[in-house]
């Protein structure tokens, strides 16, 4: 593979595929199925490319692998630099996997302008890859913004009733956050001039140079970064865009937002904010943990009473993202490994949840939690998979969420026992709202609109082939990570060690502690 720019291919291939799909759509109008088939093929190629990165990352043992670096803006220290380590690898794999399955969550025959729709999904996937692979702050910012445009168009063009307002709010809030981050990026890049003799926006160089912005400007830059990541996550109370955007977006875009793009926020905290501002991160860690835990409870309580299933899971997602931010700021290796594991796990499970809701909506024509019930009698396989998805979402041991949440809370407990206790209460609430959703739709007598619509007219209501294509891979990963969770910390721990070594001020704790605990070596 030497010489082949694998990471550039990961970023560029979806964009190329998007153009090909567009061309296909223009050449053969009304060829929704063919367009989808082409997109699936492209996404599978992307998945293969992502899988090809596993070997080099393992071989690099925590350092950045497959690095690519080209001078982009001379004199300004801005480079085109990509690299992948354990943390980004798991997110790249998540993105590639979700990128495949989300193509099965919509009906191309009923989607207007399917070629444009699929092309935008692919473009967003490529930009998300860029977010996880960029090692230059300006390049990172470019991808960070680039992902907004396709997602905005997806919501505004294919969303539900309130799509325009939801899309606009999503866009404006995201842009405001990222513009502040740009000031922070510029501040960091220029702060190195006295040390390095030139500007640099290169993350490893900045870490090595211990770039520090002195005085009040340092606080400004720190919170500028934090705001951008908090809005993206979102972290309570910066979530105003999220419920509407999740609810109004077409299902594949909702999955993209909830599963992949929300992780970009936590990734930003882990990869950029905490290593680049170690002192300030330590000083304000409790604030972020407090906001995270507040989000855990707030999201969970609203999810308990929300009636629209998509909004319910949007708030549930807010709750889970809060937990991940709290884990990221627990500032110890156990919590961080748990956070990354939980990022992957949540990405897989939430994709399955939103796909499941879309399947329900397609069958009964409503997302209202009280509109129907007893679907289990008509669609037993759907109900069975639904049960598995629900159990994964509420964190049953043996499924991926349990492992992630367990490690995360363990680490959080080391930092602050009280916060961990309160956060655990939020996790318990998850069981209540997830089972509420499941029982209302599946159990009880066949009722409501479920009798009137597609369910009653004798049509096929159980899982179809494309539904299997969504649920089987996602649940396979959820089970795999539940049984063998150590594969994620095994990749993350060396990279954490690498980052800690680059920034000694970050007070590294026993790296790999989480891995050992999971392997039953806690006493070693």
């Amino acid at each position: 593979m030497s010489g082949f720019p694998l990471l550039t291919a990961l970023v560029v291939w979806p964009a190329v595929a998007a153009l090909l799909v567009l061309a296909l759509g223009l050449a053969r109008s009304g060829a929704g199925a063919a367009v989808r088939a082409a997109a699936v093929a492209a996404a599978l190629v992307e998945l293969a490319l992502a899988a090809a990165a596993i070997g080099p990352v393992v071989a690099a043992g925590g350092a950045y692998a497959l690095g690519e670096r080209v001078v982009w803006l001379p004199y300004l220290g801005i480079d085109y630099r990509l690299g992948v380590d354990g943390i980004s690898l798991v997110l790249v794999l998540l993105t590639a996997l979700v990128g495949v399955v989300l193509l099965f969550t919509f009906d191309p025959a009923r989607t207007p302008r399917p070629a444009q729709f699929v092309a935008l999904l692919l473009l967003a996937e490529g930009a998300a890859m860029g977010i996880f692979l960029a090692l230059d702050l300006v390049l990172f910012y470019l991808f960070w913004e680039a992902v907004l445009v396709p997602v905005y168009l997806l919501i505004a063009g294919w969303g539900g009733e309130g799509r325009r307002a939801a899309a606009m709010r999503f866009l404006i809030m995201s842009l405001v956050g990222s513009l502040f981050m740009l000031v922070g990026i510029v501040g960091l890049g220029t702060s190195t001039a006295p040390v390095l003799g030139a500007f640099t926006f290169d993350l490893p160089d900045l870490l090595a140079a211990h770039a520090v912005i002195p005085g009040a400007a340092g606080y400004l830059a720190f919170f500028a970064f934090a705001l951008a990541f908090a809005i993206k996550g979102p972290l309570f109370p910066f979530h105003a865009w999220q419920p509407d955007a999740y609810a109004e977006a077409p299902t594949p875009a909702t999955i993209l937002l909830a599963s992949v793009l929300s992780k970009a926020g936590v990734y930003g905290f882990l990869r950029f904010l905490i290593p680049l501002f170690p002192a300030l991160s330590h000083r304000f860690a409790d604030l972020f943990i407090l906001l995270g835990v507040a989000g855990v409870l707030y999201g969970a309580f609203i999810a308990l009473v929300e009636r629209d299933m998509k909004r319910l899971m949007a708030y549930a997602s807010l709750s889970h993202m809060g937990l991940m931010v709290a884990g990221a700021f627990a500032m110890n290796a156990v919590a961080t490994e748990g956070t990354v594991l939980q990022m992957v796990s949540h990405g897989v499970v939430i994709a399955a949840v939103f796909a499941f809701i879309a399947m329900l909506e397609a069958r009964v024509g409503s997302r209202d939690i009280g509109a129907f019930g007893g679907l289990m009698t008509r669609a037993p396989i759907l109900a069975g998979f639904g049960m598995l998805v629900a159990l994964a979402a509420l964190g049953l041991p043996g499924l991926s969420s349990f492992a992630g949440e367990f490690l995360l809370l363990l680490g959080l407990f080391q930092r602050s026992a009280w916060m961990a206790v309160v956060a655990t209460a939020g996790v318990v609430l998850a069981a209540a709202y997830v089972l509420r959703l499941y029982q209302a739709s599946m159990h009880g007598p066949l009722s409501g609109r479920a009798e009137g619509d597609g369910v009653a007219d004798g049509g096929r209501v159980d899982l179809r082939a494309r539904d299997y294509a969504v649920l089987v891979p996602l649940m396979a990963v959820a089970v795999y990570l539940g049984v063998l969770p150590r594969v994620v910390p095994d990749r993350v721990a060396p990279s954490l060690a690498h980052v800690s070594a680059a920034a000694p001020a970050a007070a590294p704790q026993a790296v790999g502690a989480g891995t050992r605990r999971l392997n039953g070596e806690g006493r070693a």
């Binding site: 001379p74 470019l142 404006i172 405001v176 740009l182 000031v183 510029v186 501040g187 890049g189």
Partner: protein
């Protein structure tokens, strides 16, 4: 009495001379042509502009400060600004190519104004500075009123003349005070004399010069003429004015302050900070409520002048570098946006009402797509030239320690986002064309019938749009070569 005759290197004014020759040629040729044929003279004008550009190119690397007895300075800063001015002039000529209303007089005025602008950007003496501003202003007054049958055009011209005369007077008074304080006219002499110390005369002089040039740059609070003039003038003229005048006036401001008054920077820097902050915020805020695209772009142009002043206020080499980069980016994105507006204008009727653009994407996907690129670039979304240029300005401001100004720039950019995205949103909004009758029937005061845009852009507009799209992406994605060339664009102190 002994009069020293300075050695003149005529090659240094070759770009100016070629423009003058082209304008005379067009004027004379038009005497022998019928009115309908005059449009073909655009070819002559274009050749003149390209030749002038080539002459500028040949001067690259052969810079001379204080040529013609210190009257003009040819340095890379002036040359780079010159390219921007010529680019805008070429766009103005190409845009008007198929417009029957714009004949030889249009071309002549464009060429003469371009000449004045080049001179303005090179002037290193108060006299040439004033000569430049007058040579560029007089043709622009005529151009602004070139559509006399339209009420707005005449009003625009009169407003422009009055405000222009007013600002020239202020500028001239500032120059007179400066001369009184220093006894020198060459900017470098002024700078040297002021090094020894300056009195209130010089302070007032520099303040009035900043105000006078501020009018030409349309900085807040000297901007009030710009929206009316931009809206009333033919769109091709507006495109030209918004880019070329801005570039030339900015170059003059930068050179005057940095060469003539470097020792007074503690006096004019706070002035620039205030003007920059006010201009950025007010420009974007006022753009929010516009319903005419030309007015919206006028206010956006005001805001962009504010960003340029932020670069100047850094008072560093990087700041000047950033300002030239920004002007190049601004030239492409603004010329492109105005080209779309010009292309969608119909006979004698300007397509500038925002409502005309509702659902444009579904009628003219290509034109609307290009417009989206220009608007996103103006909004400084990454991957466009507008973003990279603004990033460079931000770098310059932060490096110079202007954190407050950087913060204002970011806030202004956020407001600007809303301004530009609103237009993008309008172009993708389909509600207008699905139920026009229903809207009229409701009688909500929406009685005016939205005219459908014409079937196609003129070929000239397409050329400008294509070049602008290329420039917007070229200097947003692969700016290396440009930065390489510009790295020497540092003004001689």
């Amino acid at each position: 009495m002994n009069i020293a005759i300075p050695a003149f290197n005529w090659l240094l004014v070759e770009p100016l001379g070629l423009l003058a020759m082209a304008s005379v040629l067009v004027l004379l040729a038009s005497l022998f042509m019928r009115r309908e044929e005059e449009g073909d003279l655009a070819g002559v004008a274009l050749v003149g502009i390209v030749a002038s550009g080539y002459a500028l190119y040949r001067l690259w690397g052969h810079t001379a400060s204080g040529a013609f007895a210190g009257m003009i300075t040819i340095d890379h800063f002036a040359l780079a600004i010159g390219f921007v001015i010529l680019l805008a002039a070429a766009a103005a000529v190409v845009l008007a190519w198929s417009d029957r209303h714009l004949g030889a007089e249009y071309l002549v005025q464009i060429l003469l104004a371009t000449l004045g602008m080049l001179l303005f950007a090179q002037a290193s003496n108060l006299v040439t500075l004033f000569l430049g501003i007058e040579i560029l202003s007089l043709p622009l007054y005529v151009l602004a009123g070139l559509h006399p049958e339209r009420a707005g055009s005449r009003e625009a011209a009169v407003k422009y003349v009055l405000m222009g005369a007013f600002s020239s007077g202020i500028l001239l008074y500032g120059m007179a005070l400066t001369y009184g304080a220093t006894g020198a006219l060459a900017l470098s002499d002024v700078g040297q004399r002021l090094a020894a110390g300056a009195g209130s005369l010089a302070y007032l002089g520099v303040a009035l010069i900043v105000v006078g040039l501020g009018f030409k740059l349309a900085l807040v609070p000297f901007h009030s003429w710009a929206p009316d003039v931009y809206q009333g003038a033919p769109t091709a003229v507006t495109a030209f004015m918004s880019v070329a005048t801005k570039a030339a006036a900015f170059a003059a401001l930068a050179r005057t302050l940095l060469v003539g008054f470097p020792y007074l920077f503690h006096r004019w820097l706070p002035l620039l900070w205030g003007i920059a902050a006010l201009t950025m915020l007010a420009g974007n805020l006022m753009a929010l409520r516009q319903t005419s695209l030309k007015r919206l772009l006028a206010y956006s142009g005001i805001a962009h002048a504010g960003y340029l002043v932020v670069a100047l206020a850094a008072v560093t080499g990087l700041g000047l570098f950033a300002s030239v980069y920004y002007l190049v980016a601004y030239a492409f994105m603004n010329l492109g946006a105005f080209a779309v507006v010009a292309g969608l204008s119909r006979e004698g009727e300007e397509g500038d009402a925002l409502e005309t653009y509702r659902g444009l994407f579904f009628r003219h996907p290509l034109a609307a797509g290009a417009m989206v690129v220009f608007l996103l670039s103006l909004a400084s979304i990454p991957a466009t030239a507008g973003f990279m240029a603004k990033l460079t300005i931000l770098l310059a401001a932060v490096q110079a320690g202007d954190w407050p100004l950087a913060a204002v720039l970011v806030v202004a950019t956020m407001i600007g986002l809303y301004v530009y995205l609103k237009v993008v949103y309008t172009m993708f909004d389909r509600s207008g064309d699905t139920a026009p009758q229903a809207a009229a029937g409701e009688g909500e005061g929406q009685a005016q019938v939205v005219p459908p845009a014409p079937a196609r852009l003129t070929p000239g507009a397409w050329v400008v749009v294509a070049v602008s799209v290329w420039g917007t992406f070229q200097f947003g994605l692969v700016p290396g070569p440009l930065l390489h060339a510009l790295s020497s664009t540092i003004l001689l102190p």
